[in-house]
Symmetry: C2
């Protein structure tokens, strides 16, 4: 199969390379990824600046294309310009750190998968539940096993799958949970500091969630040691509210 790989940690990130090594044994693998780390860029795209594309080699072999843009840019230019025809799947990751709950909104890894879904290409985002420097080989093997199973099912149009893997050896993983995205607020906080020139600056220092995750959510499943798989889409409409507005409009004119 023809698979396009991308990420938000940048083309030289070990999580992407682990996927590349595991999948290229049996698939035609294309890598199109941001030149530099793009964490927390969400679904940003580059409109006001030109995009540059560089060929990247690893160990003397062509590895892929580096784009001076965001993960969504990489998918767009990969599919529309660099590949001769659309890939059969886009795989984004493996991200260093989980992408669950509200963080899904900020995640460049997930947005790359969403962009592929917008382009009507089956896609997954894969993240590993650790911030420690780690060996991604086990997570890459798990990803390959999952992709094999996923490709056997009929892919729902316009949907991507947000997959989060516990940082555990394969035999310690408790199973698969199909989950919803938790909406627990993040524990937002800014640290106010003073620079060497006596000017104030702020660091976003938010960490963790405001309360415990409910069963059925991505955050909960991951804490239970399960692989979490959340089907996500790019229609932000809240239909329950829309139906209420349509049946009982709060107003009809300006």
């Amino acid at each position: 199969m023809r698979l396009l790989f991308t990420n938000d940690d940048g083309i030289f990130a070990p999580g992407l390379y682990a996927l590349y090594k595991v999948f290229k044994k049996t698939h035609k693998v294309y890598v199109v990824a941001p030149e530099s780390e793009q964490s927390a860029v969400g679904h940003a795209i580059t409109l006001s600046n030109p995009l540059r594309v560089k060929q990247v080699y690893r160990n003397g072999t062509f590895y892929g294309h580096a784009v001076n843009g965001t993960p969504a840019d990489a998918v767009k230019i990969g599919v529309n310009e660099l590949l001769d025809s659309p890939p059969e799947m886009v795989i984004s990751g493996i991200n260093l750190g989980p992408n669950v709950g509200i963080n899904v909104l900020y995640s460049g890894t997930v947005s790359a998968a969403t962009e592929a879904a917008i382009l009507n290409i089956p896609s997954i985002a894969v993240s590993l539940d650790t911030y420690e420097k780690t060996d991604f080989t086990s997570a890459a093997i798990i990803t390959k096993k999952l992709v094999k199973k996923l490709l056997k099912m009929k892919w729902p149009k316009g949907i991507s799958l947000n997959i989060n893997i516990p940082a555990l050896p394969l035999e310690k993983i408790k199973g698969i949970a199909f989950t919803r995205q938790a909406t627990i607020p993040i524990n937002d906080r800014f640290e106010k500091r003073t620079d060497p020139r006596h000017r104030v600056y702020y660091w976003e220092a938010g960490n963790g969630f405001l309360y415990s995750p409910e069963p059925g959510t991505d955050v909960y499943a991951l804490r239970q040691g399960m692989v979490s798989i959340t089907p996500i889409h790019h229609d932000l409409t809240h239909y329950v509210t829309l139906e209420a507005f349509i049946h009982n409009p709060p107003f009809n004119s300006v």
Copy 2:
């Protein structure tokens, strides 16, 4: 009422200033907005760089705080650090250009409103359906009339409203449509060019949608000359697919 204003066109954009002038007559108005234009940044936030905040004056009077970050950063730091207590509403805009259909995903204007909803503050994003240099006064007056009506209804928790206004005089606006977000793909295209040093670069040159919008969508309503109001939320789960997965799991283990 205490209202927080932001945008993605930057703190000096005329669309924001038009809102400020119209609302400050009768409300306590706070402006916290990006220092520079942040179009198409989506829901990006700044984690790896410090945020700086500058006081901005207009005509000798304090106007607001400029943040060297994204619209979502501006809302986060405004609510968590700069204001003494959360505002009663966050208003993001008025954006130069519509934010409808798939473009909602890329929109910094909409993401600022979504960030407020995550923080459990009622919020709206307001965009004007023109890219021409324009007088925003009429749209600002329409926004004020809408906010007055919206504040009388019970605000659904965690929902923000994505409002798009036709670039028409008030008397020519056909009415209000409560809509869903269109999911028509964009007509994606990159222009390949060569710079003066003979190096290749690409511009994202996509324009318009691949096919006509359906009735009931934001794109359709705006083309009919109606104000489009779409309730949006930040839970990206596709529940129909999730239910199908839960009732008939495609697999149960890695």
